[in-house]
């Protein structure tokens, strides 16, 4: 449900002219809601930034998510990353 909540709040912010990006561990819900921008990450529910205490991994995921702001539409703009998969 949290992925739908993210999409609905993002939509209202986008309507005010402020671009949004997000993370998603569940492509099914993110695709169903059509969240404007989302980085799909290969982690379990509850681990959108990969691993607790892993500053490097978390930072690189944030960079990838923020980079989606500059991807041309049309929305939804989805990105994917395999970062950190082996380490988990």
């Amino acid at each position: 449900m949290c992925h739908q909540t993210v999409g609905l709040i993002a939509a209202e912010i986008e309507r005010r002219g402020v671009p949004t990006t997000s993370l998603s561990v569940c492509r099914e819900i993110t695709a169903a809601v059509k969240t404007p921008r989302a980085l799909l990450v290969p982690y379990p529910f509850g681990y959108p930034l990969g691993r607790p205490g892993d500053r490097e991994l978390q930072t690189s995921l944030l960079r990838s998510a923020l980079a989606l702001l500059y991807e041309a539409g049309p929305p939804p703009v989805l990105g994917a990353t395999s970062e950190g998969v082996k380490a988990l």
Partner: protein, 198 residues
């Protein structure tokens, strides 16, 4: 729970359509489609949640609102929204007993010490231990401050917002909470918002 364990994917016709759309998007957008297949899936969830989600009609954004970027990232004021239901010690807790989900929100200042934040999101839909160990896992405020210090983003906004993710009745979320959060960011002249689901 290891990522992407679900092999048997029985889905309704509607979600097959969604899947096709998604694959079209992915083939256009993604460098690593194969890896993306390993993201968590509804089938990873406990049975109670799976049954609920199969029957649940998600709200689909049509058309999808889409604002262009305002300025380069190193000049952008960035704000966070988490659905991890965190709150400051002095704020009231989220109420998990509200039917359809507690759609209230909490404002978290940029200077908050993440270790002091309370977490009210208790759900068997996900393993909370990682988030309890490191709040950055779902509310990456420390990482954002570091990016500001390195000049990767222009500024961390003065405030951020926390909601509880498990909202099934979305009326009040759409009517009150989302507009309140959006108005606050508008007033702060935020350039970009990152939302993290938990």
């Amino acid at each position: 729970m290891p990522a992407g364990k679900s092999q048997k994917e029985r889905e309704t016709p509607k979600s097959s359509v969604e899947r096709r759309n998604f694959q079209q998007l992915m083939s256009r957008n993604s460098r690593c489609w194969a890896q993306a297949l390993r993201v968590a899936a509804i089938d990873d969830l406990p049975l109670r949640h799976r049954l609920f989600l199969k029957a649940y009609r998600f709200r689909t954004l049509t058309p999808v609102p889409f604002a262009p970027p305002r300025r380069p990232l190193p000049e952008s004021r960035v704000a966070l929204v988490t659905t991890g239901a965190v709150s400051l010690p002095e704020q009231p807790p989220f109420d998990e007993k509200v039917r359809g989900g507690d759609s209230s929100y909490r404002e978290i200042p940029a200077g908050a010490d993440l270790r002091t934040l309370a977490i009210h999101h208790r759900s068997d839909a996900f393993d909370p231990t990682g988030f309890e160990e490191d709040r950055n896992l779902g509310f990456p405020l420390d990482r954002l401050h570091e990016m500001e210090a390195r000049g990767e983003i222009g500024a961390v906004n003065r405030r951020h917002f926390s909601v509880m993710g498990s909202i099934t009745a979305t009326g009040r979320l759409v009517k009150d909470t989302a507009p309140a959060i959006a108005s606050a960011f508008e007033a702060d002249r935020v350039d970009a918002v990152l939302l993290v689901p938990l």
